[in-house]
C-alpha cells in the first residue's frame, strides 16, 4: 500500500482560492498545463501549414477522410463535454446519482468516439493507407493519434472520478468538486482540439 504522504498541512490554497489570484492551486496548474498543450498542438498545426504550403500538390482531404464519421464524432465529443458540465453542476448540488449518471455518459461517449476513430483507421489500413504513404496521411495519423492519446488519458481520469476516486469526496467535498472541475477543463480542451482537427483535416 502506498504510504500516505503528509504534505496536506504544508500547502495552502489547495481547496479555497487565494484572494489575490482568485484561483486554487490545481486550477492554476491546469491552465498552465493547457497553455503548454496549446503550444504542443500549435507546433504540430504549424508543421501542417508549413508542409502543406510547401508541397507541390496536396490531396483533396475530404476524399481521403470519412467526413460523415468525423462529423458524427464531433457531435459525440461535444455532447460529452456538455454531459461533463451537467455532471459537475450535479456534483455541486450534492446530487450524486445524477453526477455518476452523467460522468458515465461522458465516459461512454468518449469510448464511442474512440470506436468510430478505430473504424476510420481500419478503413485506411484496409485501403493500404499508412503514415508512410504520403505526408498528408502521416499528419492525419499523427494529429488524430495524439488527440486519441489525450482522450484515453481523459477517460482514465474520468473513470477514476466516477468510480474508485469517489472516496475522496468523503474526505473533503469542496476539494472533490475542484478536482472534477479541473478534470473537466482538460476534457473541454481536448474537445476544442478536436474541433480544430476536424475543420483542418476533414473540411479544408
Amino acid at each position: 500500500m502506498l504510504r500516505k504522504i503528509h504534505d496536506s498541512d504544508l500547502v495552502p490554497y489547495k481547496v479555497i482560492p487565494r484572494e489575490d489570484t482568485g484561483l486554487y492551486n490545481a486550477k492554476f496548474g491546469i491552465w498552465l498545463f493547457l497553455a503548454s498543450e496549446i503550444m504542443l498542438f500549435g507546433s504540430l498545426f504549424s508543421a501542417y501549414i508549413l508542409l502543406r504550403v510547401g508541397s507541390f500538390s496536396w490531396p483533396v482531404q475530404s476524399e481521403y477522410l470519412n467526413v460523415p464519421i468525423g462529423a458524427l464524432n464531433s457531435v459525440i465529443l461535444l455532447s460529452s463535454s456538455i454531459f461533463f458540465i451537467r455532471a459537475w453542476v450535479a456534483l455541486k448540488a450534492d446530487d450524486i446519482v445524477k453526477y455518476k449518471k452523467f460522468m458515465w455518459l461522458v465516459i461512454i461517449f468518449a469510448i464511442l468516439f474512440l470506436c468510430f476513430k478505430g473504424v476510420e483507421y481500419y478503413q485506411h489500413f484496409s485501403h493500404h493507407e499508412f503514415p508512410k504513404t504520403s505526408v498528408f496521411l502521416a499528419l492525419y495519423f499523427l494529429l488524430t493519434g495524439l488527440h486519441a492519446l489525450h482522450i484515453i488519458g481523459g477517460i482514465a481520469v474520468n473513470i477514476y472520478y466516477a468510480g474508485p476516486g469517489m472516496y475522496l469526496r468523503a474526505e473533503n467535498k469542496q476539494w472533490f468538486i475542484n478536482r472534477v472541475e479541473v478534470a473537466g477543463l482538460y476534457w473541454h480542451f481536448v474537445d476544442v482540439v478536436w474541433i480544430f482537427l476536424f475543420s483542418t483535416l476533414y473540411l479544408f
Partner: protein, 586 residues
C-alpha cells in the same frame, strides 16, 4: 497521527513516520531534498559530459594517434587500438551537447537551485504540488539513465549533434530513437517542474511578499519556468514527427528525391528538413535564456549580499527579465540565417536579436553599478559571482556578430560559434552555478565550504576556461569548421591556427584537474567543514536565511510576514547593515 503526542511541533511528529532512509532521501516530496537530488544528479552529468569532451579533445589535438592509458577501454568498436573512430567522435559530440544542456546545466540552475530556494525565498513551506515534484525528479533520473545506456546500443548512442538535424537523424541508427524517447521524458519532467514553479510563486507567497518584494532569483525562476512551459512543447511536437519518420516510415523531414550513399532513398518524400530546424530552435533559443537566467538570479543574490547594498536599478532588472522572456520567443531564426530564408525574414530576426541584447545588458550593467560604492566582501561565492559578470558579458558580446546576418555568413558553423556560446555557458553560467553552491552550502548543511580549496578551485578554473575558449574564437575567425573530426588538419587554410588545438586540449585537462578541489571540498565539508555560528552566516536579508539550519520539513518555525524589499542592506537608521525581510523593525 502517531509519533510523540507531547510534541508541540507538528512537523516533527509527522516526520517520525518517515524516518526510514528511503522515504526521507529517495522518495521524498520535500522540495529541499528534491533540490539536492537534482543537484547531485546534474553535477554528475556535468562531470560526465565534460569527460566526453576530454575524449574528443584528444582526437582534435592529436588526430589519429592512439589515446594513452584509457584508449583501449572503449572497445574495438569505438576506438580500435585506442584510435577514435569518426562515428564514435560524433556520438561523443552529440551526447556532450545533449547531456550538458538538458541533463546538466538546466536541471542544475532551474531545478536544483529553484527547488531548494524558491519556496524558502517566498516564505512557503513547500512547493505547490510536492508529489508532482517528486515525479519530475524521477522522470529526469529515468531519462538520464536512458541517455547513458544508449551508448551500449549496437550502433552506439545518437550521433547527429545535439540539434539532431534531419534528414541525417531520420535515417540514423537506433541511438537516435532512444534519444527521442529520453527527450520526451525530459520534456514532461520539465513541464511538471515549470507548472509547479509558476503555481508556487503565484500562490504560496507569504503574507506581505508582494511581487515587488520578490528577490531577483525568484523573478528569474518565474520567467524561466514560463519559457520552459511554452517553449519545450514544440520540441515535443518535433520529436513526435521525427519518431513517426523513424518508426512508421513517414517523411515529415525527408524531401522528395533524397539520395543516401549514392542511391535514391526509399521514402515517399514531400517533407521539409527545415521544419525540424524551426521547431527545434523555437525551443532552442528560449532554452538559452533558461540556461542563463537562474545563474543571473544567483549572482544577483550574492552580489547584493556581499556588497551590502541594494541592487542599483532593481526595478529595471525586473522589467528587463520579463521583456527578455517575451522577446526570447521571437529570435529563434537567427540560428537558421544560412538556410535560404528570405531577406525580409532575416531582417526581422536580426532586429529582434539586436533588441534582445538590450535587457541582458541592462541586467549586467545594473549588477556592475551595484559594485560601485559597496563594501565588497571577497569570499568564495563572491569571487565566482564577480568572475561571472565579465565572462558572461564577453560571451554575450561575441554573440552580436552571429546575430547580424551579414557577419554570420563567414562565422556560421565555425569554432567562433563554439567559443561564443561556451563563453556564455561555461565561464558564465557554470561559474554562476558554482557561486550558488558555495553560497547556499551553509544553509543546506550547516557547514561552510573551505575557502582555501575554494581559491584553489576558482583561479585555475577561471584561467583555463579562458585558455580553452578564447583560442576557439581565433580559430573560428580563421574559418575552422566546428564539426571536423581531425580538428581541421585536412583543411589548408586552418593550418596556421591548428597549434591552438594542442593548447586548448591541455588547458581542458588542467581544467578537469582544477575541479578536484571542488569535488573534494564538497564532500569533505559536508562532514568536516567549519560549522556556521548562526542561521544567517552571510548576514543576508532574504527569507531563506530566516529558517533553521538546515531547514526542516516545512521550512519555517514561525509564521512569516514580509515587511520590506529583498535587498535591504545598510538602511539608514538600522542598527545592523542588513534588515531581514521578515523583521518588522529595521
Amino acid at each position: 497521527m502517531g509519533g510523540n503526542p507531547n510534541s508541540s511541533h507538528r512537523n516533527s511528529s509527522d516526520l517520525s513516520h518517515h524516518d526510514s532512509f528511503i522515504w526521507k532521501y529517495i522518495f521524498s516530496t520535500d522540495h529541499k531534498t528534491i533540490g539536492i537530488q537534482y543537484l547531485l544528479m546534474s553535477l554528475f552529468f556535468l562531470l560526465f559530459g565534460f569527460f566526453l569532451m576530454l575524449l574528443m579533445r584528444w582526437q582534435l589535438a592529436y588526430p589519429g594517434q592512439p589515446m594513452p592509458f584509457i584508449g583501449k577501454m572503449f572497445g574495438e568498436i569505438n576506438m580500435p587500438g585506442g584510435v577514435m573512430l569518426p562515428e564514435f567522435y560524433n556520438q561523443l559530440g552529440a551526447m556532450h551537447g545533449t547531456i550538458m544542456v538538458f541533463l546538466g546545466v538546466v536541471p542544475l540552475g532551474f531545478a536544483a537551485f529553484g527547488n531548494y530556494l524558491v519556496p524558502l525565498q517566498i516564505g512557503a513551506k513547500d512547493m505547490a504540488f510536492p508529489r508532482l515534484n517528486m515525479a519530475s525528479v524521477w522522470m529526469f533520473f529515468v531519462a538520464g539513465v536512458m541517455m547513458l545506456l544508449s551508448f551500449f546500443l549496437p550502433g552506439g548512442s545518437a550521433g547527429n549533434g545535439w540539434t539532431s538535424y534531419p534528414p541525417l537523424s531520420d535515417i540514423a541508427h537506433d541511438g537516435q530513437t532512444i534519444w527521442l524517447f529520453a527527450m520526451f521524458i525530459i520534456i514532461i519532467s520539465s513541464l511538471l517542474s515549470s507548472v509547479n514553479f509558476i503555481v508556487t510563486i503565484f500562490q504560496l507567497r507569504a503574507p506581505g511578499m508582494t511581487f515587488e518584494r520578490l528577490p531577483f532569483f525568484v523573478w528569474a525562476q518565474l520567467v524561466t519556468a514560463f519559457l520552459l512551459l511554452l517553449a519545450f512543447p514544440p520540441l515535443e511536437g518535433a520529436a513526435f514527427l521525427q519518431l513517426f519518420d523513424r518508426l512508421l516510415g513517414s517523411s515529415f523531414f525527408i524531401p522528395s528525391g533524397l539520395f543516401v550513399n549514392g542511391q535514391i532513398a526509399n521514402y515517399s518524400g514531400g517533407g521539409n528538413a527545415l521544419l525540424w530546424q524551426h521547431l527545434f530552435w523555437f525551443l532552442g533559443h528560449p532554452e538559452v535564456y533558461v540556461i542563463i537566467l537562474p545563474p543571473l538570479g544567483i549572482v544577483t543574490e550574492i552580489i547584493a549580499c556581499n556588497t551590502r547594498k541594494n541592487i542599483s536599478g532593481f526595478d529595471m532588472m525586473r522589467y528587463s527579465v520579463i521583456f527578455l522572456g517575451f522577446l526570447s520567443f521571437i529570435v529563434w531564426s537567427h540560428h537558421t540565417y544560412l538556410t535560404g530564408m528570405g531577406t525580409n525574414i532575416t531582417a526581422f530576426f536580426q532586429t529582434t536579436t539586436m533588441i534582445i541584447s538590450i535587457p541582458s545588458i541592462i541586467i549586467i550593467s545594473a549588477l556592475f553599478i551595484t559594485l560601485w560604492g559597496g563594501s565588497i566582501r571577497f569570499n568564495t561565492p563572491m569571487l565566482f559571482a564577480l568572475a561571472f559578470l565579465p565572462m558572461f558579458g564577453f560571451g554575450g558580446l561575441t554573440g552580436l556578430p552571429l546575430g547580424l546576418a551579414a557577419t554570420d555568413i563567414p562565422l556560421h558553423d565555425t569554432y567562433y560559434v563554439i567559443g561564443h556560446f561556451h563563453y556564455v555557458v561555461a565561464p558564465g553560467v557554470i561559474l554562476g552555478l558554482f557561486a550558488g553552491i558555495y553560497y547556499w552550502f551553509p544553509k543546506a548543511t550547516g557547514r561552510k565550504m573551505n575557502a582555501m580549496l575554494g581559491h584553489l578551485h576558482f583561479w585555475p578554473t577561471l584561467i583555463t576556461m579562458n585558455l580553452v575558449f578564447f583560442p576557439m574564437l581565433i580559430q573560428g575567425l580563421m574559418g575552422v569548421n566546428r564539426r571536423m573530426y581531425d580538428g581541421g588538419a585536412t583543411y589548408l587554410f586552418a593550418h596556421d591556427v591548428l597549434y591552438w588545438n594542442v593548447i586548448i586540449t591541455w588547458a581542458a585537462y588542467v581544467l578537469a584537474i582544477a575541479q578536484f578541489p571542488f569535488i573534494f571540498n564538497f564532500f569533505y565539508s559536508i562532514f568536516n567543514g567549519e560549522k556556521v555560528k548562526s542561521d544567517n552566516p552571510w548576514e543576508s536579508a532574504t527569507l531563506e536565511w530566516a529558517t533553521p539550519t538546515p531547514p526542516p520539513h516545512g521550512n519555517f518555525t514561525h509564521p512569516i510576514t514580509v515587511y520590506r524589499d529583498p535587498y535591504s542592506y545598510s538602511l539608514e537608521g538600522a542598527p545592523k547593515d542588513y534588515s531581514p525581510q521578515d523583521q518588522k523593525e529595521i
